[in-house]
Symmetry: C2
Subunit: 361 residues, 2 copies
């Protein structure tokens, strides 16, 4: 594993795996610091290409292309958690990779992730490994119903999961997730969803932003409200969970940790080893956004102070919501961010906006 | 002259003449709105290329390249005032150009500029046209000494000008500016330099930012402080001069108008028909920066509210100042902007930073 011990000077080149809106906003943040990005993505129409110094269009298992890419950059990072493990390991031998392969692998496998978090003494929903219908029945007997069955890998935005009610047959549930290796999780009855956006540098410095309260529709984030309507004690607990997780993972970069709140109890739901949609509010309410923070972290720069200047409601523009752009552009104190995607498929993240108001004491 | 009457939708393409830091920051602002930029510049290492969707490397008098460029974009703008008049006129026949050719020509010629401003009843320094030593002597006899002799065209950052003291011979002065067509201006004894950054849309809507106070070193802007330490009456006068100038020019886009203040008197010094260095503070203290405002204006979008959230001191990083990047990056509440230039020549604008503090009542 290669490390960065001296800050990469302006003019250095950051390799990013993935070319979606997160890579695009990372690239814009890097440019502001005089750093160039090289985007590696399989899709020729990746939104990040239009704002980046260099691009490679190739699949993630093209090791010749990966080697050439690694030779052109000073550090590699990624915008999504489903980078194949072999891709990350291959690059890791050639160039510093942040977040590291260990953190990526942990976050990619829901069993490894939950085991890791529970091992820190941090509450998670009851869970059990599911390999087939027989182990699903055993797990249901132990955990009870309702419960949620999720594929161990490659789930996001509610994909690869199904809820098991009182009458659901285990055969039907297992079939719903295409009979893949899975995890059964006890259903958590929560009042609020929150997240912690934290950053950690190569030297172990940690910075944690204020906690957003997240509202999902159809399993897709719709709004984040900052500050969350939670007690100071709950906010402190959430932030300390984030800090402990990022340190224990020996993580470098920005992480998103999704949590549930019930009363004064905080339960960690899952880790996203990347900049996170619920951190988009930082773009317009902090000196250093989560995107700049991630760039700073992976490049060995000092982390920015995560101080918040304003209260914010961040709203995602999903699918046809993008058609509101003209009205939104006319609204004062609204910061509009569009991702340059050409096709507005239903549920597709096309942009977001931050409504900013003076910070309340 | 072609106009834009309907806002250009996200995905549209903006052509920018010039590829320096102003084009780079325009391109970053356009990207945030889902708009692509095509940079046209003669220099193959232009800083704006690294953050733009398309580029043309060609001289400004390559009309075949200009025609191909015009066919690829929905609107053309520029980052500097010395775009050749024939280039602007050629493009203007093919595609909307903003700011328009008339405004550009007025700002390019100091005689036309001063005559235009004085014609609005706005105070300027006494001035006279100089064609040769004889007319310089006549002008000196009328205006007196000290005075400043400036080339009519292509001056910036103090280039192409010389001060005429009590003992300076007119031959020496005229030779100092390479005996070019010139303007003699009476020397204005001012207390403060300020500027007005204003924007105007195709439909005539105008937005004016708060007034910065500017400090120059060796004729190059070093800092802008917002708010300026001027009376409310002086600020109102300055802003009204800016509004009248931008409207009278039938201007579309962001303009910078430099002014002198002596007591309660405001004198307009010159117009920059583009985003302006003294407006860089808007990037970190307004919902819509001057760069986004310019993009909005030229693309027919609603202008953003120019409301200011914070007090700011903007400082330019000139030449070797760039070596301070690491210390600056570690300072809280400091917003760092680096331009991606590889060579730090003396006086070269390498970046800037905004120190932001809560807005004082």
């Amino acid at each position: 594993m290669k490390r960065i011990d001296t800050a990469l000077a302006p003019g250095s080149r950051i390799g990013i795996l993935g070319g979606g809106q997160l890579a695009r906003m990372l690239s814009l943040a890097a440019a502001r610091l005089g750093l160039d990005c090289h985007i590696y993505a399989p899709e020729a129409d990746s939104p990040a290409f239009a704002v980046s110094a260099a691009r490679t269009v190739a699949p993630y298992d093209d090791f010749a292309a990966l080697e050439a890419f690694a030779r052109e950059v000073d550090v590699v990072t990624y915008e999504f958690e489903n980078v194949p493990g072999e891709t990350a390991a291959f690059l890791d031998a050639l160039v510093p990779v942040a977040p590291g392969v260990h953190a990526l692998k942990t976050a990619q496998d829901r069993i490894a992730e939950k085991t890791f978090i529970a091992g820190l003494g941090i509450p998670v929903a009851p869970f059990a490994e599911v390999a087939d219908e027989a182990t699903l029945d055993q797990a249901l007997a132990r955990i009870g119903r309702p419960a949620v069955l999720k594929t161990r890998r490659f789930g996001y935005d509610g994909k690869g999961q199904t809820k098991i009610h009182a009458e659901t047959s285990s055969a039907a549930a297992f079939s719903d997730i295409s009979r893949q290796p899975a995890i059964l999780e006890g259903f958590v009855s929560f009042e609020k969803e929150i997240s912690v956006i934290a950053a950690r540098s190569w030297s172990g410095e940690v910075a944690v932003y204020d906690v957003p309260e997240n509202h999902h529709e159809n399993h897709i984030l719709k709004t984040s409200t900052i500050p969350a309507r939670i007690s100071a004690a709950v906010a402190d607990t959430a932030r300390s969970f984030g800090s402990r997780i990022i340190a224990a993972l020996d993580y470098v970069g920005v992480i998103g940790v999704e949590m549930f709140v019930a009363g004064e109890t905080v339960i960690v739901n899952e880790i996203a080893p990347r900049v996170h949609n619920s951190g988009h509010w930082t773009m317009d309410a902090c000196a250093v956004s989560q995107f700049e923070q991630h760039i700073r972290a992976v490049c060995g720069w000092p982390l920015g102070a995560p101080e918040r200047y304003a209260d914010v409601v961040m709203t995602n523009l999903l699918g046809d919501d993008i058609n509101r752009w003209q009205a939104l552009a006319a609204e004062p104190r609204l910061h509009l961010h569009l991702y340059g995607k050409r096709q507005a498929r239903p549920g597709r993240k096309m942009g977001h906006f931050n409504r900013v108001t003076p910070r309340q004491p």
